[in-house]
């Protein structure tokens, strides 16, 4: 049976029992306004709910009963036993119908017209008491025997058996003193509904939860004490106590768990109404409605979810006409998908509509002064999409009744962040928009990382921790080169080079104005890399201890203004520690989302050759011939068990480092027979504050890593392959990673859209290696740049002398004849190109090289394989010049 119906039955049975008592009480004390209003409310609720559930018979009876009560309440009708009897009679009928409902799940058929007429007659005050036979029994204790007051002849008929229709011809009008089998049947029908659930006040559960939380803490303290004493007589009972406590905790948590479907109950109706109102055809698909989460969380996400569905229906989906034009099915689809991932619930709200209007958002951001034109031009679509999370940002051209009132996604985002969740979105023009909400299972207990800074300990919720990086201390800084990360400073601001990106850092001790622990700074510190929305931020701490399950307690009101903390807790050792709020820390440091993204639609033609040795990873996939990919592009190699591979939206995915990683089988199909899958993990980390996504390319077998001079025969006819090269003496296919990344996610590489009317920026690429030139030129061209390439610096200088002009120069460092440094010095020395921004490309990115590059005159210095960084840097350079001009 429908959960909704079960709830309704439970509730209605309770109301009915209460109604009986109240009506009887009213009869005794007709002036009791309180009882009257209670009765009125109960009947009204029943009527309202069954109208909602589509139970017409019940609704009619309840409605007629309510009419009588309205009159009584308004003082038009006096409370007489007859009036009460008639109402009680209606209540009895409601009970019958409810019993039938409980037994079969459907409203039993039956004719209520006589009863309704009787009720109406009473309501209108005509003749009811006169026509009615005086009650035979005192109506106080037994169900009254009442003849129908109005048209039907007073013919007490046997009550309608619950499910089947009553005897034809004789309207069942009176619930005569019930024959024995009837109540038994009704009782049986009610019993399962009434007996299986107990309604417990939420405060009781909350109280239990608090107690259990305390018990858990006390247990932890005991265990900590026991650890210091070996062979204690307490250890066995303590172990047992520990287990029971865990079970108890789980049990109490379970009482608070509700399927997320409860928050979705009202959506079908909402969507149906919206579809009518907006004149659209909308199909609502709900997946994972039985995914359970804490009721407190459930309550808090109801509204944001409803809002998102509204948005999707209103803004996301097109009208049927528009959809036909776009050759999509007329009826739009909104999909809600909920599932567990780690200690979190992921909820996706997806539509297959038009996608977010990037141009409108951009225009709006500009008119609202949220960003300058230059900044906007440098932003990726995904960054622009995120403007919709800013306060007061609504792009709906017309404010509709449904949404677009300017209180929109920012409120959703705030509400979700308030419960420790995160929200993100992806959108592709014409394909739709998907919102991804990640929320904790429960608010009461979270997993947290315990860290120390300035001799104080703090907890950082695990949800926002991406990774931990050990940084070399100031002593080891000189010696360490690539082996250990080290903190560098720009004008005193610490940054960290993390996999060739700059990660902004904050020193926790400094931020919280604690005394710095000089000892820790010398011996090395840890960096907790946290993700806040789309931004990454490294928090420098002195030590990292352990993760602990902590019970989050709100901070005292007098401390609420300190936004760095989201709560406090008591650790296993009994000490109180503060829980850091990474959102607050990021805000305090003015960190907003920013990222960059590359494009890859490289037309593959021509022959390229490289004289440089490149480390290549050899593997096998699909057929027997070896395949290769530049090792520098691969973030990690993984061996993933088959069981860990799940299917999400038709794509194989795997939970990887706390996230979902899409898997793309290189051979086209996933070999499900294999126990373990070898996976090449590609990372798309955007510079600095950007996000960090990964994709797994599933291959059959990883063979070897070789260093070779690459001679790639580029070929354009095979998608996914850059070309063929001789590696380790064998013809080897070199795969095009960009292609496979786009297979993983449609939005991975959004095609770069330059703001309209702006002429494409002209880029000169100076690069001696054909291989990289052929990688770079199409990539930049696809981003919307007009690209000219030269093999040597001397050729580039000839172009300058011939009067050609560019917006930016991208140059390799190591080149024959004239190297990049000399080239840039020559350019800066004078001539038409002296003021141009110049980017250095190098296979070796280290401190000394960068410094040398910059002092020679390069504007920025980017790693060769780092396409995203290059694009970001290009945008920055061009944005800056545009700004200056």
């Amino acid at each position: 049976m429908d959960d909704l119906l079960v709830d309704f039955l439970t509730e209605t049975n309770e109301s009915l029992a209460e109604l009986d008592l109240a009506l009887v009480r009213l009869e005794r004390t007709p002036d009791d306004a309180q009882t009257l209003s209670l009765i009125f409310r109960l009947v009204h609720t029943i009527k309202g709910t069954c109208g909602f559930l589509g139970l017409p018979r019940l609704e009619h009876v309840a409605h007629a009963g309510e009419n009588v009560l309205v009159r009584v309440r308004d003082g038009v009708l006096a409370v007489t036993p007859d009036t009460i009897s008639t109402v009680l009679f209606a209540i009895d009928r409601i009970k019958e119908i409810v019993a039938g409902l409980a037994a079969t799940g459907n409203e039993p058929t039956g004719d209520d017209s006589a009863l309704l007429a009787a009720l109406d007659a009473v309501a209108e005050g005509r003749g009811a008491p006169a026509a009615a036979t005086p009650p035979a029994a005192p109506p106080v204790t037994t169900p009254p025997v009442t003849a129908p007051p109005a048209p039907a002849p007073p013919a007490p008929a046997p009550p309608a058996p619950a499910p089947p229709a009553p005897a034809p011809g004789v309207p069942p009008v009176a619930a005569a003193p019930e024959p024995a089998p009837e109540p038994a049947e009704a009782g049986q029908a009610e019993a399962p509904v009434a007996g299986q659930t107990i309604r417990v006040g939420v405060d009781v559960l909350e109280g239990l939860m608090t107690l259990v939380s305390e018990l858990v803490l006390t247990r932890n303290q005991l265990l900590q004490l026991a650890r210091t004493q070996e062979d204690s007589a307490f250890s066995v009972p303590l172990q047992r106590l520990s287990h029971i406590t865990s079970d108890l905790q789980e049990g109490v948590m379970k009482t608070r768990m509700q399927p997320i479907g409860n928050a979705w109950n009202k959506l079908p109706r909402l969507v149906r109404d919206l579809a009518r109102e907006l004149d659209k055809r909308i199909e609502l698909v709900l997946h994972g409605a039985d995914t359970e989460l804490d009721r407190q969380v459930l309550e808090l996400i109801k509204d944001p979810l409803t809002h998102m569905v509204r948005n999707s229906a209103d803004h996301g989906l097109e009208t049927p006409a528009e959809r036909r034009e776009a050759s999509k099915p007329e009826s739009g689809r909104i999909t809600l998908n909920a599932f567990h991932e780690g200690g979190h619930i992921i909820i996706e709200v997806a539509d297959d509509g038009r996608g977010l209007p990037v141009d409108r958002i951009r225009a709006k951001a500009l008119s609202r002064g949220l960003a300058t034109e230059a900044e906007l031009a440098a932003m990726t679509d995904a960054q622009i999409h995120r403007f919709i999370f800013r306060a007061g940002f609504s792009t709906a051209a017309v404010v509709t009744a449904v949404s677009g009132r300017g209180v929109g996604m920012d409120v959703v985002k705030t509400n979700i962040e308030r419960i420790g969740g995160t929200i993100d979105l992806k959108s592709a023009p014409g394909q739709g928009t998907t919102f991804l909400v990640k929320i904790p299972l429960t608010l009461a207990i979270v997993s947290a990382l315990i860290v120390q800074a300035g001799r104080e300990r703090f907890a950082i919720p695990q949800i926002s921790v991406v990774e931990l990086v050990r940084a070399a201390g100031s002593e080891g800084a000189a010696a360490s080169d690539r082996t250990e990360s080290r903190i560098e400073h720009i004008n005193g601001t610490p940054v960290l080079r993390l996999r060739d990106r700059l990660l902004p850092l904050v020193n926790l001790a400094g931020l919280l104005r604690l005394e710095r622990d000089a000892g820790a700074e010398e011996t090395g510190q840890c960096i907790v890399v946290t993700q806040v929305g789309a931004s990454m931020l490294g928090i420098i701490v002195d030590r990292v201890f352990d993760t602990e399950e902590i019970v989050v307690k709100p901070v005292a009101p007098i401390l609420r203004h300190i936004t760095m903390f989201s709560g406090n807790t008591i650790l296993g050792d009994g000490s109180v520690i503060m829980i850091l709020d990474p959102n607050g820390i990021a805000r305090a440091n003015g960190i907003a989302g920013s990222e960059s993204r590359g494009t890859e639609n490289a037309p593959r033609t021509a022959v390229a050759q490289s004289e440089q040795r490149t480390a290549m990873l050899l593997f096998r996939a699909g057929d027997t011939s070896p395949k290769a990919v530049p090792l520098a592009l691969v973030a990690r190699l993984e061996d993933i068990e088959r069981d860990r591979i799940e299917i999400s939206t038709g794509q194989p995915v795997v939970q990887y480092r706390g996230r979902l990683m899409p898997l793309v089988p290189l051979s086209g199909t996933l070999d499900t027979a294999k126990e373990r899958q070898a996976v090449l993990v590609f990372n798309d980390i955007d510079r600095g504050l950007g996000r960090d996504r990964c994709m797994g390319l599933v291959v059959d077998e990883i063979l070897d890593v070789v260093e070779e001079r690459l001679r790639v025969e580029l070929s354009g006819d095979r998608p996914g392959l850059l070309g063929t090269a001789v590696v380790a003496g064998r013809a080897t296919d070199v795969i095009d990673t960009g292609y496979w990344l786009t297979q993983a996610a449609a939005d991975w590489f959004c095609s770069g859209q330059k703001s309209g009317g702006v002429r494409p920026a002209k880029v000169l690429v100076v690069e001696d290696s054909d291989f990289f030139r052929n990688l770079l030129v199409p990539a930049l061209a696809a981003e919307g740049y007009e690209v000219t390439a030269c093999e040597t610096a001397t050729r580039a200088l000839r172009l300058r002398d011939s009067g050609m002009m560019f917006d930016v120069v991208v140059s390799d460092i190591e080149m024959p004849e004239m190297d990049g440094l000399e080239f840039v010095r020559t350019l800066r020395a004078g001539g038409a190109w002296a003021e141009l921004p110049m980017l250095a490309l190098s296979g070796r990115v280290n401190h000394a090289e960068m410094a040398a590059g910059r002092s020679a005159g390069f504007t920025d210095y980017v790693g060769k394989f780092d396409r995203a960084a290059l694009l970001a840097s290009l945008r920055q350079c061009l944005g800056e010049t545009a700004h200056a001009a």
Partner: protein
Amino acid sequence: MGTTVLERPAETSADGEERVFVTLTVADQLCGVPVQAVRDVLGEQVITRIPLAPPEIAGSLNLRGRIVTAIDLRRRLGLPDAPAGTQRMSVVAEQGSELYALLVDQVSEVLSLPADTFERNPPTLPPQWAAHSVGIHRLHDRLMVVLDVARVLALAQEG
């Protein structure tokens, strides 16, 4: 963990002739807190500092599983800090279902005082004191300042 459960002397006289106070000293001044306001008296506690908190807030401590915010009464009254290393005690009071610990130098006896020894604050009392006390009780050998717990704890409204 030097926690003592207070034995509350029965409140005498419904007519309000006698009031019961928990007495404490802060920088050698005797003060009193109405016994009804006191939930607990604690000895020296481990207090976790709270970064960025107002200076009056000494930190938070664990009282049988509840987190209690500790307020340094010396700082609240604008007095110099206690000499380093002094053992301090606290009086726990409740405000709006939150517990607060008032850090004082010493908690001493519980006194039952007749209403006729009570006087309003003399107008010359320093403002820091006047703001946090309701009046003075004249004991035979010394004076006792009656603290207004609500106002001592009303940090949030001020900040």
